[in-house]
């Protein structure tokens, strides 16, 4: 039981992913689908950061102060990359939604012929 409690951040990740998958699979409004994907991105980012945490660790940068135990730097770099990529894909998706809205007058997937599926 204590193991499971320690792994609470990973459970938060799992719960977030399930919520985001539910949103993506059930919502018909395209903006809500994009929100689901953004939530998925956040969940994966949280997962990566949680993977690199060491109990009692500090940010992995040497300062003029004394050296403490540091958390792992690579997941932080991966998260940085993943955040930037997430921003980019979200921007592109929203731009495409603007265009779909102009063509069909709606952001509903039902009204748009091909998007549903």
């Amino acid at each position: 039981m204590s193991d499971i409690l320690i792994n609470m951040p990973f459970f938060a990740v799992a719960a977030l992913i399930c919520v985001s998958l539910y949103i993506m699979m059930t919502q018909r409004n395209l903006i809500k689908v994009v929100m689901g994907i953004t939530l998925f991105q956040s969940a994966v980012n949280l997962f990566l950061v949680a993977l690199g945490y060491r109990t009692g660790g500090v940010a992995p940068a040497y300062t003029s102060g004394p050296v403490h135990l540091m958390v792992l730097p690579v997941p932080q770099a991966m998260t940085l990359t993943s955040i930037v990529i997430g921003v980019s894909t979200t921007a592109l998706m929203l731009s495409l939604i603007i265009h779909i809205y102009r063509h069909t007058g709606s952001t509903d997937a039902e009204k748009s012929r091909r998007v549903k599926g």
Partner: protein, 521 residues
């Protein structure tokens, strides 16, 4: 080793990347200068890839450690795991790089004339070059996270190119569908990478493979990876996005986008053969891939028979042809643990699958280009409104015939050679698979006969009487792919022995892939 050969793995990615960064600036000097610049950079890329290929075929796997003191120093001194990012180029990577750089060159040349009526050409060429960067990056990397980054480059540029003709609603919707599908599958991939990182503290494919225990977590990661990459290459459970995205893609980019799908397929082969390989339950995963392949084959071709839109019809054949490749690779994977079966037919099945990948990159790309040529001259993709174009567009008609005969597996074309390898090998594995594959092949022939009859034969319809042949650059673009198809058809055994079997053996030799990075092999 001279400098060009030494740095060729990274140059193959950075040349188109550098060109993409310069294109928006050079676009201000006029369209002619920009076209010359883009095509020159792609020719340079082709040269670098050929240099790299000659070296790989002569000396085996090439390693390039980024930022280290020497390119071959994969592991820091007095340490046990790789820390820096490593490019690892083996037979498969080189094979795919050769095919995709050729297709990119043909697509760019074709685009010179076909994109002329459109606005935003500078952006178009930037995106085209970045799509090429994405493909080269995935094929040449030896690092999983790096693969994710380049997969995103490929996806975003692909989605933007699919939506390029924003005045059509189906173009925008196709692009949107593609970006949704790709970002979800890329996130699944990232989740799998996180699982590996959490267990083995490594991102390098060879290092993970070396440490792999095939725990329950690895099984979850395998499921995520296969789901993500099968979705990206458009095999059956998730084939629904393929026709909507590829049909509206603008002219010259369709074959390049198709090559990007094949790149994802090669990444899937890399994952199942090099990353997991002998350590997983081969029969289960092998049969999974075979079933996905057979379903793709059958559903793809039945959907294609019902289409009247020429390009949509051809795009459904994309799904169906991918089935053959998955079938070949799946048979190879299912028997990987049994050396006798591998020697008897497993190696041949996998080689047939890879040969079919390369053949398709050329003749399928050619067919997509001919469909676009008809659209360019007639303004319609509807087969019922076409007719008698064989007389007015002789070149396009000839190119279409080459592509259609090759894809239907008519001897002596290359499609026949690769399908024959798959038939022979799968017959020894399970005859049912061969029968299905043969039926699908006949249906493919029927479907292309229909296209040929309605588009090219008969008298020219009165409204298209003054239609002329397409401009020179489009003929050259199609000509490159047609030449490649005919060349492979004329020398099948040389091609198979020269480039296909090295790629097959690179996939089968998992220990070699690992020891190239980890040493001690």
């Amino acid at each position: 080793m001279d400098a060009l050969t030494l740095h060729s793995p990274i140059l193959a990615v950075t040349i188109p990347l550098l060109a993409a960064f310069i294109t928006p600036l050079i676009g201000r000097a006029g369209p002619r200068t920009r076209d010359v610049f883009v095509i020159t950079s792609l020719v340079l890329l082709e040269i670098v890839v050929v240099v790299l290929a000659r070296d790989v075929y002569a000396n085996g796997i090439r390693i390039y450690t980024l930022g280290a003191l020497t390119a071959t120093q994969t592991i820091p001194e007095a340490y046990m795991v790789p820390v820096r990012l490593i490019l690892e180029v083996d037979g498969l990577g080189v094979l795919m790089a050769l095919a995709s750089s050729t297709v990119a060159l043909a697509g760019a040349i074709y685009s010179v004339a076909s994109i002329r009526p459109e606005t935003g050409q500078d952006r178009f060429y930037t995106l085209l070059l970045l799509l090429t960067v994405g493909m080269m990056g995935i094929q040449l990397t030896g690092d999983l996270f790096n693969m994710f980054v380049f997969l995103e480059i490929l996806s975003i540029s692909g989605a933007a190119l699919a939506a390029f003709r924003t005045r059509f609603v189906d173009a925008v919707e196709g692009g949107f569908k593609y970006i949704i599908v790709s970002s979800v599958s890329a996130l699944l991939l990232l989740l799998a990478i996180g699982l590996f990182y959490g267990q083995y503290n490594a991102l390098n494919i060879a290092a993970i493979s070396d440490a792999m225990q095939y725990t329950a977590l690895d099984k979850i990661a395998l499921a995520l990876l296969i789901a993500a990459l099968l979705t990206k290459c458009g095999a059956v459970p998730s084939h629904w996005w393929v026709p909507d995205t590829y049909t509206p893609a603008p002219a010259g980019t369709s074959p390049i986008m198709y090559a990007s799908s094949l790149t994802c397929l090669a990444a899937l082969f890399r994952v199942v053969f090099s990353l997991y390989g002998l350590k997983m339950s081969l029969a289960t995963v092998g049969w999974l891939i075979i079933i996905a392949g057979v379903l793709s084959m059958f559903i793809g071709v039945t959907m294609a028979l019902r289409q009247t839109d020429i390009k949509r019809l051809m795009v459904y054949h994309v799904v169906s042809q991918e089935g053959y490749m998955l079938l070949g690779a799946g048979v190879g994977l299912a028997v990987l643990g049994d050396p006798q079966a591998v020697a008897a037919y497993g190696r041949e099945a996998l080689a047939g699958g890879l040969f079919h990948v390369i053949n398709n990159a050329f003749f399928k790309g050619l067919l997509l280009l001919t469909a676009e040529a008809l659209l360019f001259q007639l303004g319609t993709r509807d087969l019922n409104k076409m007719g008698g174009m064989g007389r007015n567009m002789k070149w396009t008609c000839a190119f279409f015939l080459i592509g259609a005969l090759a894809i239907s597996g008519v001897p002596p074309f290359n499609g026949f050679s690769s399908k024959l390898m798959i038939y022979e090998a799968s017959y020894q594995f399970n005859p049912m698979l061969t029968i299905i594959a043969l039926i699908v092949s006949v249906m493919t022939l029927a479907s292309f006969t229909k296209v040929f009859q309605s588009a090219f034969t008969g008298p020219a319809l009165p409204e298209y009487r003054q239609v002329r042949e397409v401009p020179l650059s489009m003929k050259v673009g199609m000509g490159i792919l047609a030449t490649a198809t005919v060349a492979i058809s004329l020398f099948p055994s040389q091609v198979v022995n020269g480039v296909i079997y090295p790629a097959t053996d690179a996939l089968l030799n998992q220990a070699g892939y690992i020891s190239a990075v980890m040493g001690g092999g």
